[in-house]
Symmetry: C2
Subunit: 338 residues, 2 copies
Amino acid sequence: MLSERRLEVLRAIVQDYVGTEEPVGSKALTERHRLGVSPATVRNDMAVLEEEGFIHQPYTSAGRIPTDKGYRLFVDKLAGVKPLTAAERRAIQNFLDGAVDLDDVVARTVRLLAQLTRQVAVVQYPSLTRSTVRHVELLSLAPARVMLVLITDTGRVEQRLVDCPAPVGETVLADLRARLNSRVVSHRFSDVPSLVQDLAESFEHDDRPTVSTVLATLLETLVEETEERIMLGGTANLTRFNHDFPLTIRPVLEALEEQVVLLKLLGEVKDSGVTVRIGHENAHEGLSSTSVVAMGYGSGDEAVARLGVVGPTRMDYPGTMGAVRAVARYVGQILAES
Amino acid sequence: MLSERRLEVLRAIVQDYVGTEEPVGSKALTERHRLGVSPATVRNDMAVLEEEGFIHQPYTSAGRIPTDKGYRLFVDKLAGVKPLTAAERRAIQNFLDGAVDLDDVVARTVRLLAQLTRQVAVVQYPSLTRSTVRHVELLSLAPARVMLVLITDTGRVEQRLVDCPAPVGETVLADLRARLNSRVVSHRFSDVPSLVQDLAESFEHDDRPTVSTVLATLLETLVEETEERIMLGGTANLTRFNHDFPLTIRPVLEALEEQVVLLKLLGEVKDSGVTVRIGHENAHEGLSSTSVVAMGYGSGDEAVARLGVVGPTRMDYPGTMGAVRAVARYVGQILAES
DNA sequence: TTCTGGCACTCGTGGCTGATGAGTGCCAGG
DNA sequence: CCTGGCACTCATCAGCCACGAGTGCCAGAA
């Protein structure tokens, strides 16, 4: 096990490196931190830390840089979550309170996170399957054409066109609408399939094909939309450190454009509390020198979706974690109110 | 006026520069193009072109690169629009045909444009005010709470929550729904305000506050959503030329994140045909070394929105214009079908 | 044992230099 | 009006060197 002082040295290295973006040497360390020992001692500690894989030097006789493993230890043991200032909290609330609809909430959240952390922000739309049904609407657009509209408790709205096998009478439609709603409203979307399973059977024989078609589309929508939508923002922040790794920006941008990749990233997040994934812990290759700080958010206790930021492994973890946590909480609150 | 040959020289310079991304000199020009004259002559022509402001040299004794004015002349007079190959056309059609809803159409279009042009693609959602109303729906979510859903002929759906001053009876709601639809369906959204102006007056006195509230929200939605949504993609393509201007990528990314800026860019596009805006012709500062190639698209003859790409002024204009035009047409077709 | 000061060594960085060559402007002659 | 020739400019690049931050190791002190 590492001694107290060695941990202290690691913490100092991480802090200095995050601040200066340059490899940090033993002398500079003793000057900037009250470690109470000489540079030579620090050097010995560094040698041990390096042997254990927490730091490494880019080349002989340069300062040390934390490794992914080093950051991991730092995040887990050495640093807490830095709460936001009161002013920041107020700013968040003000900014989010102005939102008019779900799209707007998500858009504002992305901007907010990007500004607050000065990094790339990622916000997932509230998941359909984890939300509950507020209303199902059926609109007759043409004799044999129906529009299906799903409304969730989080304010999300999905719609699909349904081409029916035969013209649909208004009475049948009203009937279906009523029965459908009485069965599914206030239930979770994930339960909808079993709730509507035998619904077609209760209709007149002639109407069954139509009802089945509508229900099929409904279920299809649930499946398709399980792969969630994501909103991205603050990509310009990537250029803040491109002097350091100008070639790394490309794969990152590419990865960020792939919704699939992003969803996978967020998918690995625990449902409660801030999750941090550092460098190679993210399976995706292009993101091997970036970290993800993310958290679930929801209208109640349960997470309906996730949000977070993507930035260089060399980032201010305590501050970023604080911002992500605060924003996630407020967004949850906003959603609960609407 | 410039002689035929001088125009030919300018065309050659633009083509070579776009290909090599390096200043092009007189000797290289005569070797790569059949101009039929010697380098010395070309040098004289270049001197004239430079005096006229079509090209300039980054420093004494370097090759020439086109100026914005040079590109402008090239686009207007020297180059046509390069049609896509049959294979490319087929690819477009296949790719777009798989779309399930409007969001999907827009998302696919962005990807397609980005891939085809290898540049940043921008697609505007079909505008509300330019579309026609397919249906207006009113849903009662709670006694005094109504959801307003607007459906356009392009498949776009907008919804708003309305908090009514008093509980709304189902009959009133049905009545309002029917009258509203009979008035506005098949009309353009821009005409809706005048069409519903006196609608409240035809209701019972007690219901008027409610009706007015709903109508007010409807009009409000039209106004708000006039500032359109935009989808962006292919930002990773920015890094293709960052070796040239590594510092320029940042302001571009920043500009692209501002929906307002993008909308302004697209707003300057003619309704029909491909529009090209080169370098400083784009008012926005961060985009002074980028060009925008854009075009309106729509389900009928009229444009309901715009799409295009943003790339370095040094781009393959004929090819890009061809791609943008082709995609715009196919998207229009797809929308007309749905 | 643990810490410290000293010392020789490594190695990336940045400034300087000179050679190279692409490209130019100009001019006199076809 | 075009062409070949010529002197000139200047960015780029490789090579070189001095600098200095930072290291590892060791012997001696606490």
